[in-house]
Amino acid sequence: MRQPAMPIPSPFQSSIAKPGQGKVVLSLLPPNNPTLTTLTYKYPLKLVPRTGGFVPTPEPSALSDTCPSHPVHLYLLTYGGGLLPGDHIEVSITLEPRTRMVVTTPQGSTKIFKTDPNNNGSNPNVIKGHRKQMPANKHLSDMSQQTLDVRIGRQAALCYLPDPSVPFQNSRYAQVQTFTVDAAAKGDQRSSLCVLDWVTQGRTSRGENWNFRFWRGRNEVWAQDEKTGKSRLLLRDSVILDDETEDSDDSDASESEEDEVETTNRNIHNGLENRVDMPPQAPAGLTPLNIIAERTRPHGVVGTLILSGPVFEDLGAYFMNEFQSQPRIGSRNWSDHAPSSVPEPSTSHKGDVTWTSARVRAGFVLVKFGAKDFETAKHWLGGIIREEGSVIREFGEEALFCL
């Protein structure tokens, strides 16, 4: 990971924040100088800013209008590269008008751990022991949560292309990402956002195949009228992957998990029995198909990309065009000597990616995809975004850090 080029404000100043909380305000100071006027965070969350990495090339005349300031890069990290049960990450970011921010997670993946006393050291022990002391775990919830709340002012832009979330076996995770844009801004004044949210089947090397208990990803875009304070839902994308074992063994499961969190060194026998109790959870790898795998089949990763606003207009149009020019399904070349009427597709079709792109309301382009594995999805998505080129032009190569 690169070192921040800007001094990090002392972590002591963040004493007001609760564990896992972070707050960032990006302002544009005169004449045209993007500055983080607030940056606080608290363990296990870490926010690392980096400015001056990329300065958009002042080429054609139009650029100076559409690109009012150079982007600030924010790394969003958690110790251990993921979230433990009970962790609650809460990040609030404000982008004041005409600012731009790139957010990435330079950790390869966001791991969703499951604290399990009888696992064979699949979690880094140091972290497990260490974070037990944190007050965030006092409520003994075994769910990891992350909320991201971003306010994007007029003409401001957010480019958020993070690593996928990798939920480990038996983990539980809920994430809510809310993006609020200025309702009064019209045309080129509108806020822009590019948000990627993707989840994988888990660690394939360990035979995990959608063996987690619960994963929910919700992304909402609201338009708020600053004068009246009224907000309106523009877009909601919500995916729920639930193995539905809660229904049957509700009370038992929650009790036993509280125990698990409390006593790390519980004897192995108990743990094993506990596992046998859970009806549909056969050992990983041997499970024919659990309910989540059944509902995501044949994909090993599913995700959503949300694009909106003037900055990502071209990228959205590119995705729409690529989608519409995909070969028709079930079309056949009836004459066997004529050359194939379907032209060979470009990068967007390499690999096993099933995707759809839709221009939904309010100018949003919503891309949904499923791919056989993480590498395929990453290659496909990175390929299209690089091929189109506007993200790199506006935000620099580092915006595609995770792709």
Binding site: S238, I240, E244, T296, I329, T356, V360, R361, K368
Partner: protein
Amino acid sequence: MFLSQDLEAEVSQLESRLEEARAQLAASECPSPPSSYPNSWSIKETYNKKNKKQLDSTRSSLHALLLLSDSALPLGSFAYSSGLESYLAHNKPSRTSPSSTFHRFLKLSIASLASTSLPYVLAGYREPETLETLDNDLDASTPCIVAQRASIAQGRALIGVWERAFRSSFAGEGSTDPAVAAIDELSDALKSCMDDDELGPKGHFAPLWGTVCRAMGLDLQQTAYVFVVNHAKAVLSAAVRASVMGPYQAQNVLASQSLQDTIMKRIGREWNTPVEQAGQVVPALDLWIGRHELLYSRIFNS
């Protein structure tokens, strides 16, 4: 103001449920657990003449129920396969058991419908005065154009049927039913709204279904059950027309205990889901529905 209205609505709802429960208790010899719910309007009730008013309301709700579950209800549901056509194109039926491919789809489709739309049906019934917000939120939550078109077309057709056919019988002249008022309001908004207003009212099917069912005197369980069973009927009918199975086989599936259990289970799961928590549980289905547009030949609109 609003609060007292809400409370009144709730009181009347609870009262009617209480009456119904009493009638059931009196009339039933066989216990009626939730799974046999649709059979719970026992025939005996019709002979129970002690409570004339109760009898009338049961009869009219039964009548409304039959109207709303009729496949001849002009909503145009026959034009949609809810992704089945695209699913079949993406998943070639296996030669050994072609119908297992379909059964998988039916299960996924019902689960998905329940998780994405059913909370809106229930909310449309419970709080008809929020119909316009529900309509906006569902529009915001529908990720693909194909599904959006299908939902809007059926929703508007439902308003049409309500206004032209049902309203005169189910809502008297000066009706004060909040459900009736909510439908009128949405209908007016739809008529006065310009076509190019992207964020204007749309008339999505699910919340309107809830509100219309309430206006027609169904109870909440009936409303939810008919909504899901109608969906299953539409998918099965599409399967017959797509030559996945024959009509008898389709009726067999429709009549099966396993379908009833699936429906009850899904309704039970979503009964208390607030609309904010509604979401897609079958991500693959979004992809199939979205890619319906890419089919070389198609016989359905979705």
